[in-house]
């Protein structure tokens, strides 16, 4: 889903757990699809937390709690650890999230989000703790994520933080371009490099 990215303001879904691994984001039994059906992956996002073993809804899980909604997922540190499965990013995008805020992301998953036009925003531990607090106090707390200015703002407290993203990737996200376009355009350069290597 190449959705151009600019400024997003939204309420948040809080998931104050640490070390959320990609096996929880999308369990392995849902990896058998051979197409990129984001709806299918989105429907099974956090499947084993969303549903009980008997298939009924787990009403205690945040995605099933109508109090919380929005296109920003706020998660504890080390989000997306474990398996490299990009299906996890497809599930997050397919569910409708466009931003994930955490104090720390696992490497592979972070790239996978970026490659699917989901923006991983790394914030400080205090900012994250305060954001969880704001959302707990008022589930309608909004957060503004401003990609052009690389700022994230907790609208409840007015506190703002700068976040990092390299200029190339920012340009890609804002213009709906991906790395494959870039690499294919650069094939001549790669051929030259191959010849010099010999």
């Amino acid at each position: 889903m190449k959705q151009k990215f600019n400024v997003i303001t939204s309420t948040c879904v809080p998931l104050p757990l640490e070390n959320v691994d990609t096996d929880q984001i999308i369990p392995a039994r849902f990896l058998k699809a051979t197409t990129r059906e984001e709806r299918f992956f989105g429907d099974n996002l956090f499947r084993d937390w969303r549903y009980k073993a008997d298939g009924s809804l787990n009403e205690n899980f945040v995605l099933n709690d109508p109090t919380y909604s929005g296109c920003i997922l706020v998660a504890g540190k080390n989000f997306g650890s474990g398996s490299s499965r990009e299906h996890a990013a497809w599930a997050i995008a397919g569910y409708g999230f466009r931003v994930v805020i955490s104090s720390f992301f696992a490497d592979i998953h972070k790239n996978n989000e970026l490659n699917n036009f989901v923006l991983p925003v790394v914030v400080s531990e205090p900012f994250l703790a305060e954001l969880f607090e704001s959302i707990q106090k008022n589930p309608k707390t909004e957060v503004e994520v401003d990609l052009p200015n690389q700022t994230v703002t907790n609208k409840a407290t007015g506190k703002s933080e700068h976040f990092d993203i390299n200029g190339y990737k920012k340009h890609c996200l804002m213009n709906g371009l991906d790395d494959i376009d870039f690499l294919v355009q650069n094939q001549k350069k790669t051929e030259l490099w191959e010849q010099q290597r010999k």
Binding site: D23, R29, D48, I108, I180, N186
Partner: protein, 464 residues
Amino acid sequence: MNTLFDKIWDQHVVQQVEDGPTQLYIDRLYCHEVTSPQAFDGMRARGLKCFRPEKIYCMPDHNTPTHDQDKPIADPVSKTQVDTLARNAAEFGLTHYGMMSKDNGIIHVVGPEKGLSLPGMTIVCGDSHTSTHGAMGAVAFGIGTSEVEMVMASQCILQQKPKSMRISINGTLGKGVTAKDVALYLMTKLTTSGATGYFVEYAGDVVRNLSMEGRLTLCNLSIEMGARGGFIAPDETTFAYIKGREFAPKGDDWDKAVAYWKTLKSGDDAVFDKELSFDAADIEPRITYGTNPGMGIGITEAIPANGRMANSPEQNFQMALDYMGFKPGQKLLGTKVDYVFLGACTNGRIEDFRAFASIVKGRQKADDVIAWLVPGSWAVDAQIREEGLDKVLEAAGFAIRQPGCSACLAMNDDKIPAGKLSVSTSNRNFEGRQGPGARTILASPLVAAAAAVTGVITDPRTLL
């Protein structure tokens, strides 16, 4: 600066993108059936051919059943995924080692054993355990499906250069302590995010003295500390392992290759972003008790009582213990075990079967334990039979299954039932990893064998 990682990375830089990542050339792409179909679809949608098809090797491993592989796969969805890989490989002109071909097996077992993964290479696969190939002295890392498509389209990938870390383990490993225990120890010490953002070079006497199989196990588990990859500078052990393998350089090319490989080490003046050092004497056979690989203890130790272990907040800790059915402060020796799994890209090699056999020889499988012994490849299976280990295992009441990823992530029929406790030589104990509700204890082949013959968590040193 001047680390082995820098050397290999720098030798593969096609260009540095302005205010962006590096365009890195990739020597080897491996594809399995789970993380490749959408990449092939993307290639078709863009009307692209693979840029360097001869550098790409495909094989199914995640969905393959571990019995009756000569018959069609019973699960139609698994069958479709496996068939799709074969069809895509044929369409794009890629080498494909299909199920039941003697070349098939788990991708991270097959690559090194065929000589496809060599020192100094850059190696990627849509699989986080690609770090395994780092044992050959290569820069190897897992990637997502979009990145698989990048490599198919251009033989390159865009990546930020990671930081470098050296982990040295010195001293001598005690009796019954294996590469798996070293890795489990490191995960507990570093937590599952302690090496995120880094590439790890393993060094020290313990690492030097490991066999290639042990090194492959150690590097395999780098991702469980969060590291993108882990590697070991190639040495005589590496060269001896590679020599004569199917795709290893031959004749003059061999001599040239070895001369180059000998240059692949960190300089004496190398500066790492982080250096850690551990003592082998502190490591005993280990097990995990929680739901991430960093939640581990020595086999004789108790689960921490305070709940702040492994850098996990109390809520996570309690959730993990509730899932596992354990209590803070509990000792696990003597805990009843339902399933034992020997295999996976972590411990599915010949040495792992030798270790398992060394414990079960002359003993019998405990009646109420179900044991799945799954070789990592057909080549491993052949060697098991050549060495007569099959006879030892069968005499002790164990059967050898057919190769594949199997119960490591339960994408085939090998699922641990909900609530059952499994001692597994695989790499992840996440909730539901071995099947919905399954409870996983990660351990070495020796610990797994000890559990298999006694029916309970047992210190393997008492059986050696």
